[in-house]
């Protein structure tokens, strides 16, 4: 069965940050997550780009600093996370 875009999005976060999907919420961001370093950031944007077949602009690569913001950034590239 195909995963929804939300399930795929969540699975990328869960794998990179080694967390359960239940932990992904509006507070999940670079300020609150200790493991969110530059390597994780790189890994996150690389995975999002590869999985959703988009190329993020530099300001979006840098701005991808929270679970919620990531959804709105991907929406700019016509990727609806739902």
């Amino acid at each position: 069965m195909n995963m929804s875009t939300l399930e795929t999005y969540n699975s990328i976060f869960a794998e990179i940050f080694q967390v359960k999907e239940e932990e992904l919420n509006t507070d999940f961001n670079s300020d609150n997550v200790e493991k969110w370093d530059s390597v994780c950031q790189l890994s996150l944007v690389t995975n999002m780009e590869d999985t959703f077949d988009v190329m993020l602009d530099p300001e979006d690569i840098i701005g991808f600093k929270s679970y919620e913001i990531g959804k709105s950034i991907l929406a700019k590239y016509d990727v609806e996370i739902s």
């Binding site: 080694q18 493991k35 370093d37 530059s38 390597v39 994780c40 790189l42 690389t46 840098i62």
Partner: protein, 356 residues
């Protein structure tokens, strides 16, 4: 922005020295976990790095590269009137390591000996400096040496840095030429962001900092004697300031990527190289990569790329766009031509100065 055009100074020799120990990043599986190391390699592109032994300093690697260059190119040492050493890992607090290299190479007393504390922008900034100095002196030849052993001020617990940086040294010979040769430079600095990459202690500002490593806010054990990089800030710098300068530089020279054979860029990580390629519309096959086998080599990244990719070419003029960017913050671009036959194959050595 400091911009320059320097005429009739040629690069007439390039030699690079690496330590013999090649360390696969999987060596750190036991420390950070296989998944973290695998993700590191996927995102940065680094699979292995060269590591110096504890006794071998940056100046040792620079000296070995210079000695090889002098021997292979049969250089008359009396003609070397300027020696400039670039490193962030000096042998002593004083004197500058450039004097140690001057001594070991047996250079003339009629030689200006200098040292600059620069990291990943070092090669570009220093190339600009030494060409300017040579142009305005009576010396015929000058020697630029870049070297670093970055891991020696890194916390072994720092998963973001310890697997990224390799050790190496290089020596570049410059000489005056009557050939019509131009090189162009553009250099930026931003001291306001000096904390972005910093080793806070070990010099004279924080003399009483505790040596014991403690957990920082990112969960990594460090002391103030370890180099710390604000990865996100440097990432942002690399994706905004650097391509902006590269683009402006191209526009001012009225050139496009088609005008160059290669873009020899600082090997920060593969993702940043990919973004620079995309932003500047540079075909990826024009950006040679060495970081997969050698990591990020600080000021030595660009010479290492040259030796890694072009030392075995048949004689060929290479039109090169160069860029370096890092601690300071400091970033710069260069436009120049090098003949591939001046580039020597990489040498591997663990030799060090026993100070006899």
């Amino acid at each position: 922005m400091a911009k320059s055009t320097i005429k009739n100074i040629a690069i007439s020799g390039i030699s690079v020295a690496l330590p013999t120990k090649k360390l696969p990043v999987t060596h750190y599986n036991k420390d950070f976990g296989e998944d973290v190391v695998e993700r590191f390699t996927t995102t940065t592109g680094v699979k292995s790095i060269c590591r110096s032994i504890p006794e071998q300093t940056a100046s040792d690697l620079g000296f070995e590269a210079a000695q090889n260059l002098i021997e292979e190119k049969k250089i008359n040492k009396e003609e070397i009137g300027i020696l400039l050493f670039i490193s962030q890992k000096p042998d002593f607090r004083a004197p500058a390591s450039s004097f140690l290299i001057h001594n070991r190479l047996g250079l003339s007393k009629d030689c200006l000996c200098l040292e600059m504390n620069l990291a990943c922008s070092g090669f570009i900034v220093a190339l600009h400096t030494i060409k300017s100095l040579l142009k305005n002196s009576d010396a015929q030849k000058a020697l630029l040496i870049t070297a670093d052993t970055s891991h020696k001020t890194l916390s072994p617990f720092d998963r973001t840095m310890i697997m990224l940086f390799g050790d190496s040294g290089s020596a570049i010979l410059l000489e005056k030429t009557k050939n019509n040769l131009e090189s162009h430079f553009s250099i930026n600095s931003d001291g306001r962001r000096f904390k972005s990459i910093i080793t806070p202690s070990g010099a004279y500002r924080n003399r009483n900092a505790p040596k014991e490593r403690v957990v920082w806010s990112d969960g990594i054990l460090r002391s103030d004697y370890d180099t710390h990089m604000k990865g996100m800030d440097v990432f942002e710098f690399s994706l905004t300031d650097v391509p902006k300068l590269m683009k402006t530089f191209l526009e001012e020279l009225n050139k496009t990527p088609d005008d160059y054979d290669y873009f020899t860029l600082h090997q920060a990580n593969s993702y940043i190289l990919k973004q620079l390629s995309r932003k500047l519309k540079i075909p990826s096959d024009k950006i040679p990569v060495s970081l997969d086998r050698f990591g990020n080599n600080s000021s030595n990244s660009v010479p290492l790329v040259l030796a890694d990719h072009f030392s075995n070419l048949e004689s060929k003029e290479l039109k090169l766009f160069m860029s370096g960017f890092g601690a300071g913050l400091s970033w710069g671009c260069a436009d120049l031509t090098i003949n591939s036959d001046v580039i020597l194959p990489i040498i591997y050595t663990d030799a060090y100065d026993k100070l006899n």
